[in-house]
């Protein structure tokens, strides 16, 4: 890795030469510089970056025996997994919902957000080299969805020769995770195959109904990646991934069926270096996500079925120009083509969006690093977007540096918000996508289903605006000695044009027609603090904390103006609420913290770790029916999860692991479906 980036090594010595010298005669501490690609689309040293970013290494993933992406992300500072009503587990970053964080594998996006959330538990971490997390709006490089930040999963690259490993983990609830990887590399050619099977019999937190909290499911991941070097300057990467999952789908005592997911990704990248200064990339990416489900009644007759079939095709060319060792320009030109077929869509919509971006990354002086970038996304269905970003880092001395960044992020309205045409068959309400209103409402009026139009359809003639935000991050890194490091980041995200639903017409059956519209102004702000203390090569402590305020500005005004009331019980008289009674957005905890201890006993070839994550109370629903989350609502109590893992290497190539996740056996059966209680597991990993 380092071989390919000599200037990084240079920078490393310039920056850390002093610290290195000092360390030499004390206990030897390994301090390999971490490099990431997500923040700038060029390889950059993590510590020199002007943006808030973080790397989760393979070493950590292996030490904690994680198997799914959601497990490991949940333990990172400021990140928490949140479930949507479809059961998918997405990530909340800087207080922004999971639909506002872009998820990439090797730099290209995953699709398949049927209800907004991309389910992270569908991603196996068995073949991951590292996970790169960049916080703050990043649409200047990545376009739509990168409001809160970007999570990029970097897969393993093969080492020289023939090698591989098999890994098997068995745990509570009959949970099996088996994977195998085989890699071969010789001279110009490499190939890497990965296979994973995950299955679980699910669990049930609420006894007495006919439903399980999580129904049994199994899934398979196949990954094949190959590289070929035509010359020292020309490299080809071809990569394919296939994922399939089957889950039982039970809706009631009578109704049951199955839900299936099939997903594939194909990625080809050709890199060519023309000179020391110029290089270019040709990239082609395509992915399809297909989800089907059906329910049969007790007589095995089809009761309902649903399908979701999304396709993304993206060619992109990219060029980098390095006039000097420390200065880079990167520019890209690409095209997103996206289609979706879905139950309850009257049309098969198609998105076409060409885009262009440019970024400058340079060091005007030894101590200052500046990144300036911008991207333009044109679109056939919503307003075109211009996304600028700027970041600066100043190194005060070799112990302390400060950094700041401002960026614009947006999320395009999804297909559902534009084209949905859905009527609930049991209750009778209707949901229409924004673009669907002008055709569907006149039809419903003609059929005599509309009692009263609340919002005139002329309001739907303009285009729906993308949700967008401006994010600010200011931080500092302080490293008094090489073993000790503190990082602080203060953030603020101003989000506008959030898309929400409202009643647009009343129906004659007493129900309503809903549609989407831009309304809310929301902000999230807070601070994040991380500290690591590597006492020696055998003992490491780390801790992190996030303070968060996530609020709706209109709601703040309503409380300030005294327009909000509450009742102590649902049937007691109302009283007026004060400004301080506003709690904020749903599903946001004011405090989140984690602490971890990693300990290695070298003579026993053993390492062990203890991790704790905490999140303070949060509200899931407006339980007192005033439309806002206030101090008189019912909250989900704060909780802590403690995990313990131990791994021992035997006969050099065998790694045996045991552990307990959530060993205090915390559950909240009423509110939290994603925490099943105490989980024991054993693991065996064989390297060859």
């Amino acid at each position: 890795m380092l071989k390919r980036v000599p200037h990084i090594i240079l920078l490393f010595f310039v920056t850390f030469g002093y610290a290195q010298k000092k360390v030499k005669d004390s206990t030897k501490v390994e301090n390999l510089e971490e490099v990431l690609i997500t923040a700038t689309r060029t390889e950059r040293q993590l510590s020199s970056l002007p943006l808030p970013a973080q790397i989760v290494s393979k070493k950590e993933i292996e030490a904690v025996n994680s198997v799914r992406l959601s497990d490991i992300l949940n333990e990172q500072t400021g990140l928490t997994t949140v479930s949507d009503f479809g059961g998918g587990e997405g990530i909340q970053m800087q207080g922004l919902d999971s639909q506002y964080t872009l998820i990439l594998i090797d730099g290209v996006p995953l699709v398949g957000r049927s209800a907004g959330t991309l389910d992270l538990s569908r991603i196996s971490v068995g073949n991951i080299k590292q996970i790169e997390i960049v916080k703050g709006a990043s649409s200047s490089l990545y376009g739509s969805e990168a409001l809160g930040g970007v999570i990029n999963i970097i897969t393993d690259t093969p080492k020289h020769g023939f090698n591989g490993n098999v890994n098997y983990r068995y745990g509570t609830y009959n949970t099996h995770d088996a994977s195998a990887s085989i890699a071969y590399k010789k001279e110009a050619f490499s190939i890497d195959g990965f296979f994973n099977r995950f299955s679980t019999s699910g669990y049930d937190l609420l006894e007495g109904d006919f439903l399980n909290t999580v129904e049994p499911f199994s899934n398979y991941t196949f990954n094949l990646k190959s590289t070929y070097d035509f010359s020292d300057n020309t490299h080809l990467l071809v990569s394919g991934r296939y994922f399939t999952q089957n889950q039982e789908y039970v809706a009631s005592e009578e109704l049951s069926g199955e839900s299936k997911i099939k997903e594939w990704n194909a990625h080809v990248k050709l890199t060519h270096k023309y000179s020391e200064k110029w290089s270019s990339y040709f990239e082609f990416y395509a992915t399809r996500y297909k989800a089907d489900e059906f329910l049969n009644d007790s007589e095995e007759l089809l009761f309902s079925e649903g399908d979701f079939n999304q396709l993304l095709i993206r060619p992109e060319i990219r060029a980098t120009y390095n006039p000097t060792k420390k200065t880079s320009f990167i520019g890209g030109l690409g095209w997103n083509h996206e289609t979706l077929e879905r139950t309850d869509f009257s049309t098969k919509p198609e998105f076409n969006s060409p885009y262009i971006y440019l970024q400058y990354d340079g060091n005007p002086t030894e101590k200052i690093n500046i990144i300036l970038g911008a991207r333009f996304d044109a679109h056939n269905e919503y307003k075109s977007q211009f996304s600028p970003k700027g970041a600066i880092r100043y190194e005060i001395n070799d112990k302390i540096s400060v950094k700041g960044s401002v960026g614009y992020g947006f999320k395009a309205p999804d297909f559902r918000q534009l084209y949905f045409d859905f009527t609930n068959s049991t209750v009778g309400y209707t949901v229409l996508g924004y673009n669907q209103v002008t055709t569907s409402i006149p039809e419903l009026i003609e059929e005599g289903q509309i009692l009263n139009v609340v919002v005139p359809i002329t309001e739907f003639e303009d285009e729906l605006r993308p949700e967008n935000s401006v994010s600010f991050n200011v931080g500092s890194v302080y490293q008094p000695i090489s073993e000790l490091k503190f990082e602080l980041n203060i953030f603020r995200n101003n989000i506008q044009d959030l898309i929400d639903t409202r009643v647009i017409a009343n129906k004659t059956n007493g129900q309503n027609v809903f549609s989407f519209y831009n309304i809310n102004k929301v902000y999230t702000q807070g601070l994040e603090f991380n500290g690591t203390w590597k006492i020696n090569n055998y003992l490491k402590f780390s801790g992190g904390y996030q303070l968060l305020f996530a609020r709706d500005k209109d709601a703040e005004d309503a409380f300030k103006n005294g327009d909000v009331y509450a009742r102590l019980t649902p049937s007691s008289p109302s009283f007026q609420l004060k400004k301080d009674d506003y709690f904020g957005l749903y599903n946001r905890s004011r405090h989140m913290a984690n602490t971890k201890v990693f300990y290695t006993i070298e003579k026993w070839n053993l390492n062990t770790n203890l991790r704790a994550t905490y999140r303070s109370k949060y509200g899931l629903f407006d339980t007192n029916a005033n439309g806002y989350l206030d101090d008189y609502d019912e909250f989900v109590n704060g909780y802590a999860i403690l995990d313990w893992a131990v791994n021992k290497i035997v006969f050099k190539n065998y790694n045996l692991g045991i552990g307990v996740d959530n060993f205090l056996d915390f559950t909240d059966t009423q509110n939290i479906t994603s925490i099943p209680g105490r989980l024991f597991y054993v693991k065996l990993n064989i390297q060859f």
Partner: protein, 208 residues
């Protein structure tokens, strides 16, 4: 249906200060505060099917339900509240409007709404109820799955002009029988209104 009379309030003397002579004393009737429990307002149909059925009609002056075609102020069926004023909105089985009633929804507590903003009063009209029906648009929120609860929105005070031109204000407390503190849409019977109201019996008096 039970009627509990409590806290009869002394009325204010409107126009008292503007009266130049003190030999002309107006005798005002006291404002009436009442709690109505379990006013049953059943409906037929629903669950995606057309809704129909006779409305339960209520008179603020008597504090009683009534079957009279004319002497009623509000009519209730399910979550729908109609007023005796204006014209038919167009739903099935609604009563004829014979009076001068009108209404609006004020923000506040029952005690903080101290006067009627007559400029906001609306009659029922074709396709437009003065008190709208629908979650979040009128007096209640429907929680949807999984609880399916109908909960009166805190701070929504319904202000009425009665069929004979008097004023009343009302706060719905519960939609479930016996107004349980924590209702359960599966266990408790619904369409049973419990509400507080204040009735101003003096002609033309817009304060409470």
């Amino acid at each position: 249906m039970k009627t509990i009379k409590f806290l009869p309030l002394l009325a204010f003397f409107i126009g008292f200060t503007s009266c130049s002579s003190d030999d002309d004393t107006i005798i005002a009737l006291p404002v009436e505060s009442e709690l109505i429990q379990n006013l049953h307002a059943p409906q037929e149909g629903g669950q995606g099917e057309p809704v129909y059925g006779e409305f339960a009609k209520f008179n603020f002056a008597t504090g009683q339900t009534t079957t009279s075609e004319t002497d009623w102020d509000i009519a209730l069926r399910g979550t729908i509240i109609l007023i005796n004023g204006g014209e038919k909105t167009g739903i099935d089985d609604e009563p004829n409007r014979t009076g001068n009633g009108s209404a609006y929804i004020a923000n506040g507590t029952l005690s903080s709404v101290t006067s009627v903003d007559t400029s906001r009063l609306r009659e029922d009209a074709v396709n437009a109820q003065a008190i709208p029906t629908g979650s979040g648009t009128g007096w209640y929120i429907y929680a949807g799955a999984p609880t399916h609860l109908i909960t009166p929105i805190a701070g929504k005070i319904l202000v009425f002009k009665t069929h004979d031109g008097k004023y009343a204000k009302m706060e719905v407390l519960s939609y479930y029988k016996d107004a349980p503190a924590n209702p359960d849409a599966y266990e408790d019977l619904d369409k049973y209104y419990t509400f507080n109201y204040v009735y101003q019996p003096n002609e033309g008096d817009t304060t409470f």
